[in-house]
């Protein structure tokens, strides 16, 4: 944004927003704007710096889903030849274990707790990254509409850490040999 644009926006916001005006006042006095107080977090001691792992995190996740739920086996298999019943028998286990693994890594939660189909309203402060608007969308908020999908958000992102070398970096699942 150009400085002229910024100046105009600030002018109008200071004019109409008393709280923002108070925060802006010290700027003119030459002091830094006060930082909003951080919530006090008792963090465990920092971990030692690690060198970047040899394996990409995406591959790490894929290897985990294969290890715990055999998701790669399932997706790589040609399923056209099997009956729904046969697929169903396999999919229950893959589903159960994939779900458990995803829960551990991402702890997925809906963005909106309301039942899908219920009417919700988004005011001017809504975070556009959390919503996708469809249908007849007017120019400005507030937006009123039915919740078609409650959305998903990860509440954490805890991936396994890979410490192996370059030779293992592309291995999703090792070949298995049963020693007689």
């Amino acid at each position: 944004m150009g400085r002229i644009g910024l100046a105009f926006r600030l002018f109008f916001r200071v004019l109409f927003d008393a709280a923002l005006a108070e925060r802006a006042r010290p700027l003119l006095a030459g002091a830094a704007a006060p930082e909003p107080a951080d919530p006090v977090v008792v963090a465990p001691a920092p971990k030692p710096a690690k060198k970047a792992p040899a394996r990409n995190d995406a591959l790490n996740l894929l290897a985990m889903l294969q290890r715990e739920a055999r998701l790669v086996d399932f997706l790589q298999e040609e399923i056209a030849a099997y009956s729904d019943e046969q697929i169903g028998a396999a999919v229950r286990d893959v589903h159960r274990d994939s779900k458990a693994a995803l829960e551990r890594v991402f702890a997925l939660r809906p963005i909106r707790e309301e039942a899908e189909g219920s009417t919700i309203e988004l005011d001017g402060e809504f975070d556009a990254a959390r919503y996708r608007l469809t249908g007849r969308v007017p120019e400005r908020p507030p937006f009123r509409g039915a919740l078609a999908h409650h959305g998903w958000q990860a509440t954490q992102c805890v991936l396994p850490e890979f410490s192996g070398g370059e030779n293992a970096a592309l291995i999703v699942a090792p070949a298995e040999v049963e020693v007689a």
Binding site: R67, E77, A168
Partner: protein, 595 residues
């Protein structure tokens, strides 16, 4: 050094956990430690449970750095989740149930005997070493997270089964010290830890739930063991006080047996369909059965639940086989098999050599937990009447199933129809209650908050041979001399009255050692000439070698016994010379007797 944290460690048969709380906080807020562990070669993940399994790797594993942890490189073994997965597929390199071996007095627990029955070219560890490795892993995880608070300077509480005998407690302590735990480590009985977890949840509210004269039964069914403890409510100076009244025998039956029983049953159903499962599929089946058990035993569970075993190779769908397990059959198997309806005068079938024998551990042949419970309540009764619990606290993941919970209460309601025992209300975290309760206990101990009084759960005896004329061909009759009475409190000492005993100098003196959960009236000095087979349990002998020249006259030293229960709850037996100030401590001789 000042401790900043109270730390509770649950060293379980199948899972271990560490909980902690700050000692500086006003109110104890107990948290669980995330434990980084190997989940696959060269892959570390944090979990709050550390499965108590050990995988002893090959040279190739160490070279490939497969088991590196943030705190240690080039390891040749792994503890935790990966080891648990390996246990069924590579049994000859996997150690499981090390804790059950710790209290198995028929083997030398310092000898590298695990994996049991493994071929000679596989590295082996002793039960004590295995326990040390699990504890050292937890300790390292602690240090990784709390660099400024060395474990050896914190208040650490480690839990043991209430039924652990003094030798097993000694070995547990030894493993803990080797793993870097502090000298002032406190051992706490698991069922008591569960009660502390409940107390932590209730705050002072517990006084509203109980009154003087109440009897609380703690029924703790862990992964591999079942433990009963009876706690009484008394009043002292106007305050309600909890006193541990009795603990049961060591029963090697637990939740894992249930999963295995169902897996065994389902494997039978597969083989009827002509499907033989390989070891890999058996693990998968066990895993599926655990999930199936929860679904089938849920209050409004489905009538049938499909249990599938996925294809072994990369062709997953093609190789998948499944059978349907009926709710009724599963309930019959698990509920009737483990919590059968029985009468209060029933008892467990006597232990006999069974198919489990080859596993080396003395597994129970009667899995009926309710029958063991009936025997416990009868044994702890007074005046011919069985003990009557008024309240029951359940512990162990098994009791997540409402069907199993309800069955246990139904059986007891049947026994005590006029006043059925009530379940304790509150939020109980069945998987972590023991670790959490232990951390809370560490906190409560510092703050002089409510504590369960108890002392020793058993009376202890040493075997002494009677003097007198030897009869050729007949051993001298053995008598049992009581050295510690039931309920002897921590931090107290007792002289054992009686005749002096001559110990030969320079030769190991060994005494057979017995304990009794039943003979509560015996005082130190009581000499038993005979006893019922059920009354006394023999465990590891006590031994000492008296060095020459220390208060010993003419090759032998006249001594009397002196017993001590330390502040930390450890039992010590001393031989006090009657002619000098010298004294010698007897140690448990956990080595197998040469025979």
């Amino acid at each position: 050094m000042t401790a900043k944290y109270a730390i509770g460690i649950d060293l379980g048969t199948t899972n271990s956990a560490l909980a902690w709380c700050s000692l500086e906080a006003e109110e104890p807020k107990v948290e669980l430690l995330s434990v980084p562990q190997i989940v696959a070669p060269a892959t570390v993940e944090e979990r709050t449970l550390l499965p108590s399994f050990l995988y002893l790797g090959t040279e190739a594993d160490a070279k490939a750095k497969s088991f590196d942890l943030p705190w240690e490189k080039k390891r040749d073994f792994a503890a935790g989740e990966f080891a648990r997965r390996q246990a069924a597929e590579v049994p000859t390199r996997s150690v499981a149930a090390a804790k059950s071996w710790l209290c198995h007095s028929r083997v030398d627990r310092h000898q590298a005997i695990l994996p049991w029955n493994a071929p000679a070219d596989v590295p082996k560890v002793s039960p004590v070493q295995a326990a040390t490795r699990y504890l050292a892993h937890l300790a390292a995880a602690w240090h990784a997270a709390f660099r400024d608070a060395p474990l050896a300077e914190q208040h650490v509480v480690l839990t043991v089964p209430a039924s652990f005998d003094p030798a097993a407690r000694e070995l547990t302590r030894e493993a803990a010290l080797a793993a870097g735990m502090p000298e002032n480590l406190v051992l706490l009985e698991e069922p008591q830890a569960a009660v502390y977890a409940w107390l932590a949840d209730q705050g002072d509210g517990w006084r509203k739930q109980m009154q003087v004269g109440d009897r609380l039964l703690v029924c703790d069914v862990g992964g591999g063991t079942t433990d009963f403890t009876l706690i009484g409510v008394t009043q002292e100076a106007g305050e309600l006080t909890l006193t541990r009244l009795a603990v049961g025998n060591h029963i090697l039956v637990g939740g894992d047996n249930m999963d295995l029983a169902l897996a065994h049953y389902v494997a039978g159903a597969f083989s009827q369909k002509g499907v033989q499962l390989d070891p890999w599929q058996s693990v998968a089946l066990w895993h599926s059965c655990r999930a199936a058990k929860e679904a089938l035993l849920a209050p409004d569970g489905p009538k049938k639940h499909a249990v599938a075993v996925l294809g072994r190779g990369s062709k997953l769908i093609k190789g998948t086989v499944s059978v349907e397990v009926e709710r009724e059959a599963a309930a019959q198997l698990l509920v009737e098999g483990f919590l059968p309806q029985c009468r209060l005068d029933d008892g467990p079938a006597p232990r006999r050599a069974s198919g489990f024998r080859e596993l080396g551990l003395p597994f129970e042949s009667d899995t009926g937990v309710t029958r063991h419970l009936a025997a416990f309540l009868r044994a702890q009764g007074e005046e011919g009447q069985p003990a009557r619990p008024t309240h029951v606290l359940l512990n162990g993941g098994v009791f997540k199933s409402p069907v199993l919970r309800e069955r246990l209460f139904a059986v007891m309601a049947d026994w005590f129809a006029d006043q059925p025992p009530r379940g304790m209300r509150g939020n109980l975290d069945l998987d972590y209650a023991v670790a959490r309760g232990a951390a809370y206990y560490g906190f409560a101990k510092q703050r002089k908050a409510v504590r369960i009084r108890g002392g020793t759960a058993r009376s202890y005896y040493v075997g002494v041979e009677t003097a007198g004329l030897a009869i050729p061909g007949a051993p001298r009759p053995l008598r049992a001399l009581c050295v510690v009475p039931f309920g002897m409190e921590e931090g107290t000492e007792r002289d054992v009255p009686g005749d002096e005993i001559g110990l030969v100098v320079g030769e190991p003196a060994q005494f057979r050692f017995f304990s009794s959960a039943l003979r509560k009236q015996d005082e130190p000095g009581t000499l038993l000439a005979s006893w019922g087979e059920e009354e006394l349990t023999e465990t590891d002998p006590l031994a000492a070698t008296l060095p020459a020249g220390e208060g010993a006259e003419e090759g032998y030293a006249p001594v009397k016994f002196h017993s001590k229960i330390t502040e930390l709850g450890m039992f010590e037996l001393w031989c006090q010379s009657t002619v000098s100030d010298h004294r010698w401590k007897l140690e448990f001789s956990v080595r197998e007797e040469a025979s």
